[in-house]
Amino acid sequence: MFEYEFMQRAFWAGACIGIIAPMLGVYLMLRRQALMADTLSHVSLAGVALGSVLGLNPVVYGFVVAVIGGILVEQLRRTYRTYSEVPVAIIMTSGLALAIVLMSFRSNLNKSFSSYLFGSIVAVSDIQLWLIACVALVGVGYFFVLRRPLYNLTFDEETAQIGGVRVRGLTFSFAVLTGMTVAAAMPIVGVLLVSSLMVLPASLALRLAKGFTAAIVMAVIIGLMGIFSGLTASYYINTPPGGTIALTLLIFLLVGIAYQRLRLVLHKRRARTSWGKVLNEQEYQNKGESHFEI
């Protein structure tokens, strides 16, 4: 498999995006923005269409428009504070509508558009590979340097602001990074499945990990494993790589959930006999006592 240059490139691109996308996914999920990636991929599609219509590089335009979309979502989130899903819906439909209208100006666009919709990692170009590598490098640096303010922001925005975190700057830079990552990940799994690279590994890691750093590391490992095994499977069974990667990650998630359920059942069964005794002891100890001490 690795004798082909396109497969080598596919694995490199997968490795870069497999590091940054699940990392970002953990933060997106905790900030209740799991659909952000989906939204920005639709917006990015409008950028690709715009680039094609103007006869300019669609990759670059898709990238720039995704970043602008991220900023717009963040700006709208401030207007609709109580309903954080509303800006996502507004920008998603706007992006898709714009893409459809722009596509109608060029009748020969449909074929190249299918590669954006469904992804074609094996056809990743040099410029796309460099773009993905740069985004991954910037993203890893961003999350390492700002890990403390990002933790506080993710836990609670208000207390973070009072603790000295520059919330506005941080949320906007986060939105920009999300846009960049989505645009870079599009060639791998396509517009329709881009959020699977972010949401599925993060969903499993958040269920299994005990700590915050552990969740991020676990999400990255799951993401990389899913991408590599999905790519390998798609090569040997001759299936579309984007869909195969997404399905592999979905299988990982289902196995993870089943494993967790099984462990819980076994734990309950083992503890059933001793629980009553322990609870009674604790109740007795806590009765009439304050938890606070000076």
Binding site: V26, L30, V145, L146, R148, P149, Y151, N152, T154, F155, D156, E158, T159, Q161, I162, G163, G164, V165, A205, L206, R207, A209, K210, G211, F212, A214, A215, G288, E289, S290, H291, F292, E293, I294
Partner: protein, 238 residues
């Protein structure tokens, strides 16, 4: 020394103001209780004091420096903070340590003294034994206590607490008021606390600010001069 000052503050969410013409001063080292019925804009007042909301008119000033000349450190426990996402992937110690991040900046490592402060904060709220538990496994009252420990671990000069005793039993509430009184008396921390349980907390507070409704349905704080100033046991001699 005045820590925070509000002068003729008017603020509202819709077209009508919810706070109208509020003026008050909060001094350093005071234990202040803010009280009033539901909808009296107590939380709004705290947010105005913290600069999270901007008043329509009037001025809100909060000293940027503490008595020791260093930058003022604020510990804030918002209302219902214990209802945070129970799936948040953190254990208790990790969350409480994050209260020190504003002091540490981006790269500084935890010193032994800071580790000791974190440990003490957790012990003060009776959660040290739970330090390795995932926060999703804790009860509402326990979550509330680790949020208080998180605020304490940042070694604040000012503690701003919005209904911090929600979900606590009576003995814990009394224990909490005693701890806050100790923080004020021994460490000189200013504590501003929104509370409904005035009958329990009254004896520990230095001053009570109560918000009362006027005929026009706007809420107004009794001005500092007419505010009932109540001294706790340590201040009787003053």
């Amino acid at each position: 020394m005045i820590l925070s000052s509000m002068k003729n503050v008017v603020f509202g969410y819709g077209q009508a103001p919810v706070l109208n013409g509020v003026s008050l001063d909060i001094h350093c080292g005071e234990f202040v209780g803010i009280t009033g019925p539901n909808g009296a804009a107590k939380t709004t007042m705290l947010k105005l004091l913290l600069g999270l909301l901007k008043p329509w008119s009037g001025t809100v000033q909060l000293n940027e420096k503490a008595l020791d000349g260093n930058k003022l450190r604020i510990g804030y426990v918002p209302q219902n903070v214990a209802s945070f996402n129970s799936g948040f992937p953190s254990h208790v110690l990790e969350l409480v340590k994050s209260g020190c991040y504003s002091r540490l900046g981006l790269f500084k490592r935890f010193t032994l003294e800071q580790e000791a402060v974190v440990e003490q904060s957790l012990k003060q709220v009776g959660m040290w034994e739970y330090r390795n538990r995932r926060i999703g496994e804790l009860s509402g009252g326990q979550k509330q206590r680790i949020c208080i420990a998180r605020a304490l671990s940042g070694e604040p000069n000012v503690l701003i607490l919005d209904e911090p005793t929600a979900g606590m039993d009576q003995q814990s509430r009394i224990g909490f008021y005693q701890l806050m009184r100790h923080c004020v008396t021994t460490h000189g921390i200013t504590v501003i606390m929104v509370t409904h349980g005035l009958e329990e907390s009254n004896q520990y507070l230095d001053r009570v600010i109560s918000l009362e409704q006027r005929e026009s349905e706007e809420w107004q704080c009794l001005s500092t001069s007419s505010c009932s100033v109540r001294f706790g046991p340590e201040h009787v001699s003053e």
